[in-house]
Symmetry: D2
Subunit: 446 residues, 4 copies
């Protein structure tokens, strides 16, 4: 009986994650994500109407055409969490496989939304919810288990695929955070148990492997304390107050709203994607917004709300999209004077996010900052912690799982190579039991 | 008798240079440039139709409103060379002063063009040509001298203003290049003579002060040798061949065309600004293009030429604009498949330019490179030398001129401060005889 | 009546702080520090036996010879806190002035120690303790007030010198930390009162002005949370455990020992300077060490302790000097196998410090890390927060104090210039009311 | 018949190169170098007296113990050029193999010297000279060919091993330089012929793969032009003049001495290793020193020469060791005032070398520069071009050789991985026909 790990996407970039694991004749697909950066290259890309083959050619979604030559039956499409680089290609690719899509309830609800907004393809795969801590048999030989972990979106799981040859662990993405408000800590006990039971192979998120100055990723508790300290002044001043963060970062939005709850300001959460992620999380009982919070998702409502806030700026705190300076997001549009809210001298703008350092983002952020400053805003930058494990977290994970074989994922060759060096410190050896794959390559374990 | 140096623009940025020197009641203005970076902040800026006050407010041109309070008569507007950060605001500001514009013939011809394309203002100042090595009396007390120097555009001069109190030297921009094809070396002998005669104050270009790894700026001879080595293969291959460089860099274009002269390829110089700078330089006998070169400036002609080159790509070498990735320039449009020329696998693209490292350019260049590579092009990057003096050149200049007072210009506070450190190594002291000015500030010497 | 601020040291470097403030005929000196980096240039420098003039020539201590020409009477030498770059030159320079040394009790006790270990000079100046919150008249016209602030050593104060012309504030060094264990938060209320009363001039620590990614410096609370998270695993493992931090960072040592108090490990604090700072702080009731902590300062005791720890490594946690990789400090000596404690595979080494990024430190840390790793140690890096205010803290401070005049200190020209840009955002203008001084220069305010 | 490439050393670092190629039962070893950086970790390493096993354990020389398990007969030890990272372990390892050492005459002479200064081992392997362009049969099945190439030491060759399965090319180190004075250009024609004949595998030097700003490495012609421009002033001034460069860089020393030949200064080449490399090159007719040059190798002679130069500094130009700031080399000792030559204000020091950017060198260079500047020297930095091929040179080489299989060498995993990306642009694929090896790993080709 052989196990084969097929690197479909996310092995040459941070984005468009997709990995297939083949155990004899059964195949499980983990994640189907998109790579948003690639969209910049082609100006005319309206994803929702495009064919998957065009998107594949442009590098926007994983090239799963190689799956045709994989001789086996796909038993499940498993998504570990609701970020677009993990679920964003579902609507383009899933219909080709006769298999259910399995994810945690919140992730599943987000997948449903992407399927509904798709214009080109009809996705009819059954959607099956599985909770962290639960198992489900997906073929006579295979059982899928969802182990609780943490990341920057709720209900992220690490998948454990139980096979006759041992467990295959797919942990992409994850961080080890013991102090989140919305999500309980990772289930370290279970990881250790799996390690004892015997992990055949582990596929790990290496996004942050190069963060040597922050060898263990800081907890959201740190973010909360930073926000608390930074918000103190601005909440009391008689100035405008805008906070921007990731729309999907429910934990962070929970923290920000909680901290601002007792101030006199009303909180407006504004933006289409803000509304989508938050209202869903609220409906599902994940996000618990204080009473002084309102959500605005469609442009008319947003405009009205912004006009109100503009006239009475010391009475509101706005939580908006646009921290990367994306030209069509709300904060850049505000800074560019294209909304009803005008930045005035002394207004405070808090970036509860880091800039993902590709040249496009850096240029957009630079423009955004210059425009905000020109209008007199005060900027608080990088009030944030990462959602990806640092190198010492990865080392801890390796020690817990003691996998026979290691496959770094979610990075380009420089990330995967840096992981190899870490793994070798732990006794592995490149090509023997830690493997660098390129998109489209497979690794077979006997 | 007092001398006053008024920092109007270019003391808080690399761009929009303008300095006024007042000697008793006579004022001489040096340069009136624009700051192209500032255009990015406001999306709707059509310069040619805008009023100077709006452009001043947006930081695009120097704020010369302070000149109203300068109690003196402007005797001349002197431009040292034809780059837009030195002449680009002439059409917006010069009409406010009853004074001739004095420059070398090539610079003057370029100034004339900017005046003609202006839509808002009418500039009627007399245009007076002065050659390097010549002097002209501009008031009973003042004589202006143009001393030969080198830069990245022909007929750049260092201005020496002879006053009863000593010489005021304005050297912005300059490099010390002894091996250009088009321009003779700087007149070091004259600089030393001025030094002996007595230089009261020197205003110096500090753009490259931080280039510690290249303490003396490399000569164009180096660029020629690099181009020769790099072009060798591509000229012979049966592939497309595109070179991009600064349209105003006549010296470089001379070198490239000379090197490619004996190949079998026909050379097309393409682009509106390419045509403007080159045809003017050709008409004035500065640029001596080989017979196999053609110039195309209007879009119809460019399109036809590109179509020809596309069908027979091994027969042509294209020299085009767009090295900074500017979206509307020719190379980015080619890479984006918006012209008749399609990049094919194996085509060679040579950047005879460096990327000016602001975030917008870096993003544009990144996009351009990715698009070129996606189509299979091979890129040769940075086949280039700078046009600005390095720190050790500045030191040499200080030793030649031995100025009483030093005023660094053409940089933000970090450039000017770095120059202060160099000057202090040469015996000067901040505040005593080397001065950091902000835009709008003046320094008086008694 | 004029006020003159004389920049004696610390205006061209981070180090050797010394500023004199002259109010009519009265002079107050703030800080007399050394510049440890300069020692690297000369290999044979045994400070304790060297004459001040030699040390001045070598750039190790401030050049106070210019004070001879200051026409006034020195009324006090005021030290803001106990770091060597603020008190380290007292033993070399103070005896030249007939004036008391005024500082908080802990600072004063540290000053006494440096005076005692001096071999060349005899310092007999009276030592006068002043507590935070207290005032003392030091001449008919001048009253000195110590305002509570925070930094990375206890009992740091911001000095407010009340003069007939307004208050002169000297805040060098400081951070705004509201959550320290050992020290209460800064006295913001008093800062605002001073602002209302009228601050003539403020001299501010600019060390961290360039930290744009951390615009408000993180609190020690953050450091505590990081340490707690990082120490959890290592405390429980059966491996060696070493923590290194600044010997003078009593707050941090308090936090580390408190966190480890309930573990089964005994805590050894080891090293001569560790012992000096800690035992003093303990004696003065500032540091409250748990019962399972022992202090070892002389080499024999250290050796014995290390031998014990070596034999039973899972029973101890060592807190040692050497985080910058200084060859003679304890951790580098351990890593180099020059002590009784041998690093074994799996031992944990926690750096609760950042590397001060000069080339010597970077080389020393690199060597240290390679040696530790070669022996199998696991390294946790940068479990730390800074002790200096970030740019947005400085902005807050300016808004509280509303000083007429600003003088950035404790940095080279690049720090001071960056501060100018911040100050100009707040309405100041270089040369008018914010000033860049060089060592040896003075600024007069009328 | 199988070919096996065994990565012994230089696949996890820039240094200690050693690769074995096994063709059936015949083995050829390429290079036996040392890794000088590793010496810093252990302070007490006197190489000449140490056993190879100790040096292996310390990572200073390649771990060739794995060769015991290689089932074959070593037919030759081939060294490509005379740098220590290619020949420095010969004296420690070669005696274990019953095989001749084959190299070009200059390389061989340098190998002889290292053998003679060895204290621990006796190396009796026959030394066989082979000239560039020549072939030699080394076993019934194998013929070794030396193909002319260029680098930063004379007589560097690319080895071509002709096997029944095709050619194995070992090009480590190399650059493509068409304008050296001492060495003719690489034999591109022969490379293309080998490509046509069929290259089974190519092992390539990747040192400079990350130099994206200098995609083709600049020629020594560029270095000559830079030196000419920089030396002009200093040669004429009445000041001291010191040039420092690599002792083994005969080409550079030829260029410098040639440029300075017609000045009035006498040229002294000083330093033990300077003398070793230069006198050998001179004796063999490779280096052609002008008449005004003298060589000084032993310390007494050096001291006397320095004393002469000190008394009459405007009459001499010194060429010395120490460009990396190595504490025991001549220039750092001069800067530290430990010789008879004292740096005086205005003396010129020209670094015809770049700093190899590891933390130790950066610290040493920083110290050296500060000491030189403190004494008033003027420094010209980085008057240099590299000796290693840039990425576009590598691409050219791949296109000439068209190897079936590619193995990047001479770099850590980040270099090798970056090469993989280049190779993939040329149609290769990781694991299929381009391979990343770790020290101790082998790749078999059938």
């Amino acid at each position: 009986m052989t196990i084969e790990v097929i690197a479909v996407g996310g092995y040459e970039e941070i984005g468009k994650n997709m990995t297939a694991v083949k155990v004899n004749d059964d195949v499980v697909i983990f994640d189907m994500g998109i790579h948003l950066d690639r969209l910049h290259i082609h100006e005319d890309t309206d994803i929702s109407r495009m064919h998957s083959l065009d998107l594949i050619e442009r590098g926007v979604i994983p090239d799963d055409t190689l799956m045709r030559e994989v001789d086996g039956k796909v038993r499940a499409i498993v998504c570990t969490h609701g970020h677009l680089d993990h679920i964003g290609a579902i609507a383009k690719l899933a219909h080709r496989y006769e298999a259910p899509i399995i994810a945690t309830p919140y992730t599943l609800a987000l997948i449903e939304k992407t399927i509904k907004s798709e214009r080109k393809f009809k996705v009819n795969n059954p959607l099956q919810a599985l909770n962290p801590g639960e198992k489900q048999q997906i073929s006579p030989n295979l059982t899928l288990e969802f182990v609780r972990t943490t990341h920057s979106i709720p209900q992220t799981i690490t998948a454990a695929l139980h096979t006759p040859e041992g467990v295959v662990v797919y942990a992409n993405d994850f961080k080890f955070d013991n102090h989140q408000m919305v999500s309980p800590p990772p289930d370290y006990r279970r990881f250790r148990e799996l390690g004892k039971k015997g992990v055949k192979a582990a596929i790990l998120d290496t996004t942050n492997i190069k963060e040597v100055q922050q060898s263990k990723t800081h907890s959201e508790k740190i973010a909360r304390d930073l926000i608390k300290d930074v918000l103190k002044g601005p909440l009391d001043e008689k100035k405008g107050l805008i906070v921007t963060t990731f729309a999907s970062h429910i934990e962070r939005i929970q923290a920000i709203t909680k901290i601002a709850e007792r101030s006199r300001r009303k909180i407006m959460i504004l933006g289409r994607s803000m509304e989508r992620y938050c209202s869903l999380a609220q409906d599902m009982g994940i996000l618990n917004l204080p009473r002084n919070v309102s959500l605005y998702g469609n442009s008319k409502a947003i405009n009205k709300a912004l006009a109100r806030a503009n006239d009475n700026r010391s009475k509101y705190m706005l939580i908006v999209t646009g921290h990367q300076g994306e030209p069509d997001a709300l904060l850049p549009r505000i800074a560019n004077n294209k909304t009803n809210f005008e930045i005035k001298p002394g207004d405070n703008v808090i970036f509860s996010a880091s800039t993902i350092p590709n040249p496009i983002n850096l240029a957009n952020r630079n423009l955004l900052d210059r425009r905000l400053k020109e209008r007199g805003a005060r900027i608080y930058n990088n009030i944030h912690v990462s959602g990806h494990a640092g190198p010492e977290d990865m080392r801890d994970f390796i020690r817990m799982l003691q996998p026979e074989q290691l496959i770094p994922a979610h990075g380009d060759i420089s990330h995967l190579s840096a992981f190899v060096e870490l793994a070798e410190e732990e006794g592995y050896k490149l090509g023997n039991d830690v493997h660098v794959l390129r998109n489209g390559q497979a690794q077979v374990f006997n």
